[in-house]
Every structure is written in C-alpha cells, then in structure tokens.
Amino acid sequence: MDVQLKVRRQNPEAEGEPYWKEYALAVPDHFTLLDALIQLREEVDETLSLRCSCRSHICGSCGMRVNGHANLACKTKLSDLHTDTVTVEPMGNMPVIKDLVVDLEPFWKKLYSIDPYLQPAGEVPEREYVVPADSMLHLDGVVNCIMCGACVSDCESLSVNPLFIGPTAFAKEYRFVMDPRDAADTQRLMQMNGPGGVWDCTHCFQCVEVCPKDVAPMDRIMAMRKMLVDDGVTEKHNGARRQKAFADLVGRYGRLDESRYLMKSVSMGELAGYAKVGLRSAMRGKLPPLVPHRIPEAARIRRIFERTRSTHRRRFKLHQQAQEGSRV
C-alpha cells in the first residue's frame, strides 16, 4: 500500500518556523501509523523525532494529531483512514519540543496538583480493604487511562483557559473520589469546585471522542458535578444554580425558558453583565415570551424528576461506613 504522510516538523535548534514535510512510503497493508513513522525514521529521515514505545496502546507515548484529531499512532491503522494524505502533527495545547515531541511538563504538573494518590482514613487493615466487587470493577474504566495526553491535546476549554485542570487529571480525580478506600473525597470535590475545576469544562465531548482507551473523561467530570451538588459542596456556584434552574423550569413548564433560566443560574452581581445582551436581544425581538409557554401535562415532568431522583444512591465509602458504625 502506498501512503502519503504530511508531517508537521519543527526544529528548535534551527530556530525555524514549523513547516510541513511530505513523505511517500510503500508499506504493508496491516501497518499502523506508528509502523510507518518508524519505517520513515529508520530508512528515510533519521532526523524525525517522536516518542513511541510499546506499540500496543498501553504505554501512552505516541499521542499525536492524525488528520486533525489526537490519537495514538500505534492505534491508527493506515488502511482505516480513508484519506489520500495522512496529516501528522504534534498534540495540541502543549508546546512543541521538536517535531512530534511535545513538552509534557505542564501536563504532569496538572496531574500532581490533584494529589493523585489514595488517601485512606483510619488504621490500615491487616488484610485487604473489604469493598464491593463492583466498586473495584467500576474503577477499571478510569484505571484504563494511560496518560497519553490525547484528551488534553484536543480539550477546547484548555485552549482558552490554561488554568483548567483538564480531562486527564479529572479522570484521575474521579478514580479516587469513587474509590471506597479514599477518604479525601470532600477535599477533592472542593478543589474541583474551584477555579479551573469541573465547572470550567465546556462539554464539547472532544476528550470522549479522542480517548484511545474509552475513559470518557467528560462523563467523569459530569459525574463529579453531580456529586458536588448532591453532597452540598456547592450551592452558590453558577454550575449548581444552573442544574437547579434547569430542573425547576423544565419541571414546571416542561421546557426551558431562557430568560428565567439565566436569572436563576447566574448571581445578581453577574446579571448586570448580561443586561446588555438582554437589551440587544429585546431590541431584535428575540426575548422569550413574558409568560412562559407551558407544555400540556407539564406536571408529569416534575413527577418524573421526583421519582428518578428518589432512586439516587450515594457512592460507597469505607470511612463513612465506619462512622455510621455499619459493616460492609
């Protein structure tokens, strides 16, 4: 199979701007992009730098952007790409060191910032911690994370907000918040409620889409938002207000009324900032009706919300079990 690779190159020692370089290769049909890049590096151009190691999606070294989206080169089968030219770029949201090698130090620092280790409470048991089998199994989905950085590369919030803790670190945080043995979940959630925390996620699904290990970081972020509200860690945060406003309005009218929604979900102080927008909209005849439209039988929606909410179960935590004096 013939393949055309268009590679984003950059050499800091030459102090040149990044440039594209195209390579034509003949490779076996079963080749992954990584196989092709290795062949390229070994036989055509030894100056090409990239990170790679395991070749089987487990070490997380070879994250890069392939045709515009982050992925592992070793997980990208060339025959699956269906494009004449494969564009290969370094990951986004990270400075480039050389060619496809990016500076991961900021990535690790974000990870360290969440205290990424188990913080149990009380005496260490003589044997293992006894916990429900499904609670450990549930963690597999996040333990699967190989820290390749693909989600961080394509994260939209990070592209405009360097403070944002980011999907990898959030997935890690979720791993501890959900671990029955970790007793620091309240502190962890409080940190998640702060600047750069879970409310700064823009819900764009990029991390879910590009994760090569199906960790679904955004889903973990949304789950932690729910915990923040359920645990009462946050009430004043606009994110929490928004959840409540949405449920209240949809529960009342069956549909969303944007102006009431906005008033309920941002604080009084901030409302002023939106006044201009409201005025602009009003002048263009865009304001929603003063008396909200209500769907027939809207009460049923509230009833659904009440009933589903009653099935809510708190996550299983050993230290709380211990406090409550109950046994597993």
Binding site: C54, R55, I97, E128, A133, M136, L137
Partner: protein
Amino acid sequence: MIYKHGVLVVGAGLAGMRAAIEAHNQGVDVAIVSKVYPVRSHSNAAQGGINAALGEGDTWESHGYDTVKGSDYLGDQDAIEILAREAPAAVLELEHWGVNFSRDEAGHLGTRNFGGASQARTFFVADITGQALLQVMFEQLVRVGVRMYNEWFVTSLIEDGGVVRGIVGMDIRSGQLHAIQADAVVLATGGMGRVFEPSTNALINTGDGMAIAYRAGARLMDMEMMQYHPTTLKGSGALLTEGARGEGAYLLNSEGDRFMKTYAPNKLELASRDVVSRAEQTEINEGRGIDNCVLLDCRHLGKDLIMRKLGQIHELALELAGVDIVERPVPVRPGFHYPMGGIKTDVDGKTTLEGLYAAGECACVSIHGGNRLGANSLLDTVIFGRRAGAAASARSRTAGSGAAEGSRLAEVALQQETDRLRALLDRPYVGELAAKVRWDMGVNMVKYCGVFRDEAGLTEMGNLLHSLEDRATRVHVGDKGRVFNTNLTSVLELQFMLDLARAVQLTALTRTESRGAHTRTDYPERDDEHWLRHIQLQYASEGPEIHYTPVTITRWEPQVRSY
C-alpha cells in the same frame, strides 16, 4: 553538570519506583532516572496478574515449590523462599496503596488461574494488572516526592576499581550530558526484548542496564534462559495474556485438536510457558500449524466474560490482527518475551560490583531459573525492588565521604562520554544503519536462539555476531542535532544489545543440556549431574569469561518435571 544523590535508581518501572520509595522511606536522599516518563515503563504491559499465597488453604511453600518446579530447578531456592514468603505482604501493600484488585462476591481479593500454578493464586485487575500497578506505584512516588530525572538516557556507569560511584546520562530533551554521583546505584532498567525480532517487548526494552553493568564489570547470569511466551499475536508479535488460558481458553492445532493433552495431560494449556511454547513449536514444525501459528480459542468463554476480564486483548486482537476473539479463534505463536537471566545479584539486589544493585527484569537473583512462571514477574519487581532499595540505602548511610574522589571520577567519566558521543556523531556515512543491524541481529537471534537450539545454529549465530559487531562500528548518526535525538540513542542502544546477544549466544552454546526455556535438540535431556549450576559471564576485552556457580537448594530436591 554534576549532580549528587545518596541513592540513584535507574529505571522507573515497578522495580525502580519501588526501590526509590523504599530509599525515601529509609530517609535517604534518593533520585530516579528514566529514559521515559515513569508511566510509560514496560511494567504496564504485564496483563495477567501477580502471584501470592494469600488465599485460604494456600501456602508459601506451595507457591515456592511451583516456582522451583517452573524454573526447572535452576532457580535459587533461598531467593525463591523469600519471594514466596514476602508475596502476601507485597500484594496487600499494593492493595493498601490503591490497586483496585478484582474482588470476589464478598468483597475480598479474587484470584484467577495461571500457568504452572497448583492453586489459583494470581491477583489481578482485569487484564491490565501491570498498568494498574504501575499507575499506583507512580502515585506513591509522587506522594513521597522522589526527585525524578525523566527522559534521561544513561550511557554508562562511573566505576573505579570495582566500585560504582554514579552514572553518566544524557538529558534527551536538551541533548546535554551530565553526571550523577551516588553512594549506591540501583539498576532497574527492565528487559532486553529488542535483541530479538519479533518480541512482545516495547521499543525501549534494549537491555541498557544489563549492558552498562556488564561493561562496568558486573556479572551476568543465566543468560541462556530466554522465555518465549506461548500466545503472541501473529504479525505484530503483541502479547495476549496467559490470563486468557487462565480463564479457560483453548489452544488448537490445524486439526482442531487441543494438542496440549499430548504434552501436559494434567495442566493442559496451563502448563508452564516453556512447555506450552515447545508444544506449539513442535505442532507447527510437524505440519499441524496454520501459517506458522496455532489457534487460541476464547469463543466458549462468552462475550460477557471476555469484555469484563479480557477487554484489552479483545481490543489488541481486533485492532492488530482484525480478529474478534468473541467470534473467532486468533492465530498465536511463541514469541520472545522475557529473559530469566540478567545482572547477577544476591537476595538484596547486590551485584558483583560494590555500590551497584539491580532489581526486576534486568536482574537475576535467580528466582526464575530456567523458566519464569506467569505472574511472578510483577511480584519479582516489588519484592526485590524494595529489597534493593533497602540495601542501597544502607550502603548510602554508611558510605564514607569519598565525595572529592567521586567528583573527580565523575568529571573524568563525563569527559570520556562526551568524547565518545562526539565521535559517534562525527562518524562518516558509509551506508550502515543502526536499524538494519538491529533487525539482522533480532531475526537471527530468534532463528538460532529460539525455542529450539543446537550447536550448529548457535555457532552460526556466533559468527553472525562477529559481522554484526563489525558493522555496528560503522553505523552512523544521521541526526546531528542535540534536542530529542532519538537517532543517537538508537545507536547507543544497538551497542548495548549486541553485548547481550553475544551473552545469550555464548551461554546457550555452553549449556549442553535441555532445561527450562533452553532446549538443545542435540542435548534433549536435562542433565542434573553436570548442569545443575548457573553460568555467569564477566566482560573482558579479549572476550567474555565464563564462570560456573552452584544452584542453591534448600528444601526441594530436583525431580522429573511434568505437567
């Protein structure tokens, strides 16, 4: 620059990080150097699990015996006793640190079956056990705050008069060479799979630690004992965990027979790895293979179990071989996986050089002897990583000042390495590429030092190595830059690997019997009378010196081995 630490660990996989954490806990100034970020280390590739006699009715003696038998009686039993006795505490420590081991219905640790084990004593996290352990070990390293030199390539040890005093390494990111002085150096650099082509191993597994220790004068041991894993994917050579067979998968030949019944009537697919690989290769050689493979059949396990417990190999088989193991058997064959041999150490990780310690895959204690049992390697890393970290700390605490002397030596070594690398970069291009030499070495090592070996082939390999060594002196470095020059590191790695290839070839030729993973078709029987002993190699400029040392036997006398 010249840096200084009490204990310096080289390699940040499980063994290295465990050693560093231990040194930290002992109050020593410790740092860890790794050529990749810690979580990229190859420990993450271990899929199946970690052994410990922790279950009701299980005993450390049973684990010990299985390990000794698995080793074909070449393992040192004092070391194996330590491994088996310390295993339960080691696994519990990992659990307490956060590994989300699979649980049984009652919430206690659950086990799975594994090859060569008389009981189900393998603790696991789906089929990502190594990955789960590596993440947790890294978390603990971050928790205690060990200084990390990440993406540093260690080029040599600073050694003087049989005493190791530090390392010289290159910060890959800047291309700058630095020296790090240390009272004690712990090598935990992992495997050497890239000496063989194909192999299950990562591209970083180039045996760096073994090679630099060997060149500095430390002895290598059991280097003829190279494990071929029975279930590696056709094509890519990627590993499919033994856990698949542990969960009940079959091996079939081209006639649809579960051929293991002929070779291991009791344990069948769960015989030790050397036995299964030999059986597969025999089937293939006798014409009952399919395109040089046999079939691993998981279909009867059902989709639910496969997705829950074997998700990663489902993904690998699908992505790399285009086979959905829920629907179809997947072609597999023996593939190079793991060296039982390595840097000779005692049970505290001490090598034959003062100030130098080693642990994990790069070391040879020897607990694996002629054949390592599945799920004993993760255990090896945490137990002997900890012990090496403790012993290195003890040395650091009692080491005399010697700082001035060390500093002078470091400067000399740094200059020497700077000159050596300069010369490498200045080599003219004569058409010889490192990748080509490595490839020729790798495929021939599999051919002549594979599952089956004989004198003619091993002699041929010896001759080939002469020509490969000669070619290697002419490979050039096309990338003349300093920053992230992976071309330069690949040339350095090639030199390491050729030393190790020679060690394997020479010891395999020397051992004129069949034991464990070392099968000589010209000497098909195990010969306890002559060969119940280790072969050690010591580097010398005129060629390796061969030494023999006895196997330590404590309580398990050699017996006929059958599964």
